[in-house]
């Protein structure tokens, strides 16, 4: 028998969409926590959709085409930028359709790209963006009638496709560029810096907006309207203003951009499909015996004990594990910027100081998730819960406390209020201690798994949501717990300058003792459950 010619592979993108939906469904089955997160995600997407629709529809209702020009073009550009930045920084990329999994199937590149693109469109973010931008159609229809509305509808769809294509292409390019572990580690650090600088940038922009005249923004919007960022979002307005000649040109810009992005994506996809090759970093084997194994682990000063080993491993991890290092860097940048931005303007650093202590501690909220089920090693040896908790807190404090001291000094000196340094430091330490007291039990009760992905930005579906919710809840708790101290500092005025530091330290110590005790005992009872919770893919 002759071999039969293999069938032509199907070219429809629908199997990809079905596969994605099925993956989402089976990810939810039998997991109430995931379902809750998913529903929350739907609700938030719904809010975004409705809110966005309302905002974009306003200019049409009030019949102001200048506002419409600014809002649609600037807002649309912001949407596009958001589609690139947000997945990289916060939510991670949904890797349910990981191109590497299709590597062995005989799929033409075109089918694969089309399929993955369509699957990306069939998600909450794309749907809610579409719903929100439909507000632009309403505005265009109000301003220029049905014709403008139809043109805008085409533009909005083009804009949405641009958003999704750009987002996928950029993340795919990153995955390609980040093949080796070292470059991935570096990229995470860079992104942490950028993310930490977003806050300052935002404030600067707001300050600029207060001063700038609106005409400049209108001009900026019209210029953006001729770039891929906002070409799609503005066609309806062009019809309304009678610039019919602009419509085909802008649609051409959108189509060209889309084609270019898809081509870029397909070019980087191949290497993404090969996956992160274990780049043979051969290591400096046999480079001579440098110190004893215990010396390598502990350095010179840490005690040669169980506690010393635990602290040393944690310290190494805060430096060597990318997610932890990113958290430390974010804390450093934000910690210095927040109080400084206030004191430079002559304000009091007090509340901001408390906030710094709070950011410091957030990184511990899912501390067991960082190293995944490697925690099993400590369980097999039988490390008592309190020893585990104390060592982890101690290692974090080794980084956090010196930073808090530096921040307090920097804030006091730049604000010309050196006498406030001890009081502010006391507030920071009090928040840090109260934060530890709250976060340590949370880290035992609410640990969740982070995916061991090839991409540093990957989050399991719903993982981004869990992270965000946990952070908000913990922050609220800490604010409430330290509110009495804040009020006390405010009421006491100058007396606080004297008693702030000792009171803060005492408050922190008490909160830490209670929290670490609760966390340690709870860990003793829940070790297997914690391990199961941080094991990915269960």
């Amino acid at each position: 028998m002759a071999l039969t010619v293999p069938q032509r592979p199907p070219v429809s993108p629908w199997p990809f969409v079905k596969l994605k939906l099925r993956l989402i469904a089976s990810g939810l089955r039998g997991r109430p926590a995931r379902i809750v997160l998913f529903v929350l995600g739907v609700v938030m997407a719904g809010f975004f959709a409705i809110g966005g629709y309302a905002v974009f529809a306003v200019p049409g209702v009030v019949d102001d085409d200048r506002v419409a020009g600014m809002l649609l073009q600037l807002g649309g550009s912001a949407l596009v930028v958001g589609w690139v930045v947000l997945p990289l920084l916060f939510f991670g990329v949904d890797e349910s359709l990981d191109p590497a999994r299709f590597a062995l199937l005989p799929l033409p590149r075109r089918t694969l790209i089309l399929g993955m693109f369509t699957a990306a469109l069939a998600g909450l973010p794309a749907l809610s963006t579409l719903a929100a931008t439909l507000g632009m159609v309403s505005t265009a229809a109000d301003l220029g009638g049905a014709g403008a509305g139809f043109a805008q509808l085409a533009g909005v769809i083009g804009g949405l496709l641009t958003c999704v294509a750009l987002s996928r292409a950029v993340t795919s390019a990153f995955a390609t560029g980040l093949r080796s572990r070292r470059s991935r580690d570096l990229a995470v650090v860079l992104f942490a810096v950028v993310a930490a600088l977003l806050g300052p940038l935002q404030l600067a922009l707001l300050a600029g907006a207060e001063r700038a005249d609106w005409d400049a923004f209108a001009v900026l919007g019209d210029v953006l309207g001729w770039t891929p960022l906002a070409a799609g979002w503005s066609v309806g307005l062009d019809v309304a203003d009678g610039r019919l000649w602009a419509v085909p040109l802008k649609l051409l810009i959108v189509a060209g951009t889309l084609a270019g992005l898809l081509w870029w994506w397909s070019a980087t996809l191949e290497s993404a499909m090969v996956g992160a090759a274990s780049s043979g970093s051969s290591g400096r084997t046999g480079a001579g015996d440098v110190g004893s194994p215990t010396g390598l682990l502990l350095g010179r000063r840490l005690p040669r004990t169980r506690f010393g080993a635990l602290v040393a491993r944690e310290v190494r991890y805060w430096w060597r594990e990318t997610r932890r290092r990113a958290a430390l860097i974010t804390f450093t940048v934000a910690g210095f910027f927040l109080p400084l931005s206030i004191t430079v303007n002559g304000g009091s650093a007090g509340p901001a100081a408390a906030f710094v202590g709070l950011i410091a501690v957030i990184a511990l909220a899912n501390q067991f998730g960082y190293e995944g089920n490697a925690y099993a090693a400590n369980m097999i040896i039988g490390v008592p819960g309190r020893t585990e908790i104390h060592s982890r807190a101690a290692a974090h404090a080794l980084f956090a406390l010196p930073l808090l001291l530096l921040i307090a000094i920097a804030a006091g000196v730049t604000g010309g209020r050196a006498e406030h340094i001890p009081g502010d430091l006391g507030l920071m330490i009090a928040t840090y201690g109260a934060g530890l007291g709250l976060v340590l039990p949370v880290s035992v009760r609410a640990a969740f798994a982070l995916p061991p992905s090839t991409s540093p930005f990957a989050m399991s579906s719903g993982g981004g949501m869990a992270k965000g919710l946990l952070t908000v809840a913990v922050m609220l708790g800490i604010v409430i717990a330290t509110a009495p101290l804040q009020i006390l500092a405010f009421l006491l005025g100058d007396i606080w300058l004297w008693i702030g530091l000792p009171v803060g330290v005492a408050f922190a110590g008490a909160a830490y003792l209670i929290g670490s005790g609760v966390a340690g005992d709870s860990l003793d009872r829940r070790m297997p459950e914690v391990l199961a919770a941080v094991t990915p893919g269960r």
Binding site: T294, L296, L297, P528
Partner: protein
């Protein structure tokens, strides 16, 4: 069902499992597994993929809480008196990450100090283990950059470091190259000859047949056969017994004719 009470103070069994049960969602992963591992034995736990080997061993060493049943290591109840049981135990888990952002020597030092050993002993034994397993004493590569086989070897070194009385190894030969596998076999045989007990899981018949004094066959979460190698094998080959017990298909010769 009644669980037989453990006999107090008896040291004949290095590991005793009584009616262990584990359920994941709706799937019964391990169903009432009871097993005695005699001290000084080289025990092979055989089973196809997904049979429940890892789940059983995880419950036996205190990593996974059983839904029912009890586990004793060297006479100590793992879930009632974990500290005593774990102190005499070395484990190489499968599918579990190591603290892989440490280098090999750092990882060994970490394990040694966590076991409460003094620094000089840790250093001396770590150097020997790194040398014997050919991992490089001065190797500054982080474990995350190790190959799969090297990871198995550093994991084994961590399990051996405190000279435990009982070794529980989950798939110790997977992804290990033949030369290293021979070295590991040799180390384990010497360890058993010196009075230690090894229980390891595998689905490679040849390794089990060559090494083990006892075998147990598990499939679909149920313990199908157990005992000395001779009694389980009878006069057939272990593979024949295994395929028959596990219920693999017997080829009729007519399938896949188009191939």
């Amino acid at each position: 069902m009644t669980v037989p009470a453990p006999r107090e103070g008896e040291q004949a069994a290095a590991m005793s499992l009584y009616g262990l049960v584990k359920r994941f969602d709706t799937k019964l992963a391990v169903s009432e597994v009871s097993l005695e591992v005699p001290a000084g034995s080289f025990y092979g736990l055989l089973g196809p993929n997904g049979a429940g080997k890892t789940t059983t061993l995880s419950m036996a060493v205190g990593l996974l809480r059983p839904d029912a049943g009890r586990a004793f290591l060297l006479g100590y109840d793992v879930w009632a008196d974990p500290a005593a049981a774990k102190a005499r135990l070395g484990v190489l888990p499968d599918g579990v990450r190591l603290f892989d952002r440490l280098t090999g020597p750092e990882l060994l030092a970490y394990h040694g100090l966590l076991r409460g050993m003094d620094a000089a002993t840790v250093d001396q034994r770590s150097r020997e283990l790194l040398d014997v397993l050919e991992l490089g004493i001065g190797n500054r590569t982080m474990v995350v950059d190790y190959s799969a086989g090297m990871r198995k070897k550093i994991g084994l070194a961590c399990a051996l470091l405190h000279a435990p009385r009982l070794l529980v190894l989950d798939e110790p030969f997977e992804a290990v190259d033949p030369v290293s596998a021979a070295r590991i076999r040799e180390i384990l045989q010497r360890y058993v000859a010196g009075g230690g007990t090894v229980i390891f899981s595998s689905h490679v018949m040849e390794v089990v047949e060559r090494l083990c004094s006892h075998v147990a066959i598990i499939s679909d979460g149920v313990l199908r056969r157990h005992g000395t190698l001779a009694s389980v094998r009878g006069d057939r080959s272990l593979e024949e017994v295994f395929v028959q017990v596990v219920g693999g298909r017997v080829s009729t010769g007519s399938e896949l004719a188009w191939l």
